[in-house]
């Protein structure tokens, strides 16, 4: 039971001077600790994953036709940045959608203004608050036609459900499980959910999500956000954007 070690062993007393025999050891331990912290800090930081090419910008304006379902979209008719016929996803500032402001403007010609986020083919505009961000174009001669949806068949895709804004570059990284609750919060706030497919469909990797009837699907996907999932549904083209009308019951975690 005698665990006190041999007689010559130095005995450290906190309030007394550290015994000389123990000092080299303690200095070594201190140095090891400093080196450990510096080294781990560097490696942990230098090996962080690439958050992707998404990036935000400031101050863009566009005119186009707004559609409300499944999530507010704009078919651009006039803009300096975006080509005519381009389909823009719309959200509010931060973790807000624009459903409240857009509901009365379905099918109308509107002017939008806000900060763009862009990643590959994904374009989203984060609208300014109030009428500055979204307003009806008064006295327009005629509202241009919105292109008819083109069905592309029923597909089974593997990919990640993201909030379009963070994935687009509003947050870097805006994907993955560490960001999951944040993505859910965006989606609950009304930001359009985007399906990022591991393989392109009709040349597109990003698909706007909708339910089977073409309505919003946010509540049904919240438990499958930010991880790789398999899901089935109808793909259709609206303008230059693909919409994935999923069957939420078919959602499952990719093995």
């Amino acid at each position: 039971m005698n665990d006190a070690g041999d007689r010559s062993e130095p005995f450290f007393i906190g309030w007394a001077k550290a015994p000389t025999g123990l000092r080299p050891f303690l200095i070594g331990v201190g140095l090891c600790l400093v080196v450990l912290f510096g080294g781990v800090g560097f490696i942990a930081a230098a090996t962080q994953a690439d958050p992707g090419s998404g990036r935000g910008g400031r101050g863009e304006t566009a005119i186009g036709v707004l559609t409300y379902d499944p999530y507010p979209l704009l078919y651009v008719t006039e803009s300096e940045r975006y080509p005519t016929g381009h389909t823009l996803l719309l959200s509010g500032n931060a973790k807000f959608g624009v459903q409240d402001r857009a509901s009365a403007l379905d099918g109308r010609l509107v002017q939008v203004s806000g900060g763009p986020v862009a990643r590959g083919d994904l374009d989203m505009l984060r609208l300014r608050n109030g009428p500055d961000g979204l307003s009806l174009v008064e006295g327009a001669p005629a509202t241009p036609e919105v292109p008819e949806p083109v069905p592309l068949g029923r597909w089974r895709l593997t990919g990640e459900i993201c909030d379009g804004q963070c994935y687009g570059g509003a947050m870097r990284p805006g994907t993955g499980l560490a960001h999951r609750a944040c993505a859910n919060l965006c989606l609950i706030g009304g930001v359009p959910p985007v399906f990022v497919s591991t393989q392109a469909v009709a040349g597109e990797e990003f698909l706007l999500l909708a339910d089977a009837e073409g309505g919003p699907v946010t509540d049904a996907v919240l438990d499958h956000v930010a991880m790789l999932v398999d899901v089935e549904g109808e793909v259709e083209r609206r303008g230059d954007l693909l919409v994935f009308r999923i069957d939420p019951a078919s959602l499952q975690v990719a093995p």
Binding site: G14, L22, A45, C182
Partner: protein, 347 residues
């Protein structure tokens, strides 16, 4: 130890200890934010707030791992005992770093939404039935709450007020808290880290902590118990001068039999301050000195010398030949017991 409590007890050793700690933490955060992140291979820069939450989160986890390694290290090699001496300052600093992590998370991931950040934190992800995608934030909250309780009860007042056994029991919460922190990282950041370096660092840290505890446990000797009134402690000749042998009185109680020159005295093995192992200490300036924080007691009555007021229980001793026996029933702390002279034939 102090006669009157002061906010923070410092002495030259603690200054050095805290300086090394602070230097390590500042270095970690600086290297992570300034050097490491600049060296990361990224198309677009990672958000500053996210880099900061990663820096403080990973630093707190590393600190917690080191803290948990100190206990078993000191049991495996007594030269590590000085690290135990000021571990409470280490713990308080860890809480501060972990709290900074939490504040960044709350102010970034859970801000800017229509929902109150605290409510958002608890409602945004409710997939408690999933392993992948589990709301790992709650595991972090649980660990942080424990760190808060432990940091808030680290003053010596709490040791004395709660009593060392209850204080220790409360502070054993650090074990489930560490498990929660491990799961917090494993189900969160580890799932996203594409570079294997993080998994290796993380796995290395947690497995080291686990292995050290296992090793210290395997090294702990098995202790026999008897139901007799007198418990055999060992051969009087085996006790070096100024040292002790430890004897198990009951599963929770141990006595330390000290040799002080030509006499023997038995006191509780548990120091009055934090129940440190007095029997692993020594007699310094005529007083039994605890190896953890240097609290001192007179061998003959278990009282700290004035002006200090700590007391430990004492035990009756008797000799049968050279064999030392300790009476099972302890005297109340501070009871004087006449020291037993060593047998003539012991050198």
């Amino acid at each position: 130890m102090s006669v009157k409590y002061v906010p923070v007890q410092w002495n030259p050793n603690k200054y050095v200890y805290d300086a090394v700690l602070l230097a390590s933490v500042v270095l970690y955060i600086f290297v992570f934010l300034e050097l490491g992140t600049a060296a990361a291979d990224v198309t677009q820069p990672i958000n500053g707030a996210i880099v900061r939450m990663r820096a403080f989160g990973s630093c707190a986890f590393l600190m917690l791992s080191v803290i948990l390694a100190i206990g078993p290290l000191a049991r495996l090699d007594r030269r590590f005992l000085p690290l135990l001496y000021n571990r409470r300052h280490f713990g308080v600093m860890t809480f501060a770093v972990a709290l900074t992590h939490a504040v960044y998370v709350l102010g970034w991931y859970f801000a800017f939404s229509p929902t109150d950040p605290l409510v958002a934190l608890l409602t945004a992800n409710t997939a408690y039935g999933q392993v992948l995608g589990f709301p790992f934030e709650v595991l972090g909250i649980a660990a942080l709450l424990v760190l808060a309780i432990l940091a808030a009860t680290s003053h010596d007042f709490w040791l004395s007020f709660l009593s060392p056994p209850l204080w220790k029991a409360l502070h054993l919460l650090i074990y489930p808290a560490y498990a929660a922190a491990v799961a917090h990282v494993a189900l969160g950041y580890l799932q996203d880290a594409t570079n294997p370096a993080f998994a290796l660092l993380f796995g290395g840290a947690v497995l080291t902590v686990g292995a050290l505890h296992l090793a210290a446990w395997l090294r702990a000797p098995a202790e026999p118990t008897t139901a007799d009134d007198w418990v055999m402690a060992g051969d009087a000749g085996d006790i070096p001068d100024g040292r002790a042998i430890v004897v198990r009185i009951s599963p929770t109680e141990r006595a330390a039999v000290f040799r002080n020159g030509r006499t023997l005295s038995a006191v509780s093995n548990a120091c009055a301050h934090q129940n440190g192992p007095l029997g692993e200490g020594r007699i310094v300036y005529g007083c039994i000195t605890c190896p953890w924080h240097g609290f001192q007691y007179r061998p003959e009555d278990g009282c700290s010398p004035a002006p200090f007021t700590e007391k430990v229980p004492t035990y009756d001793l008797k000799l049968e030949g050279r064999t030392v026996l300790v009476r099972r029933t302890a005297h109340p702390p501070g009871t004087r017991v006449e020291p037993t002279p060593l047998p003539e034939d012991v050198a």
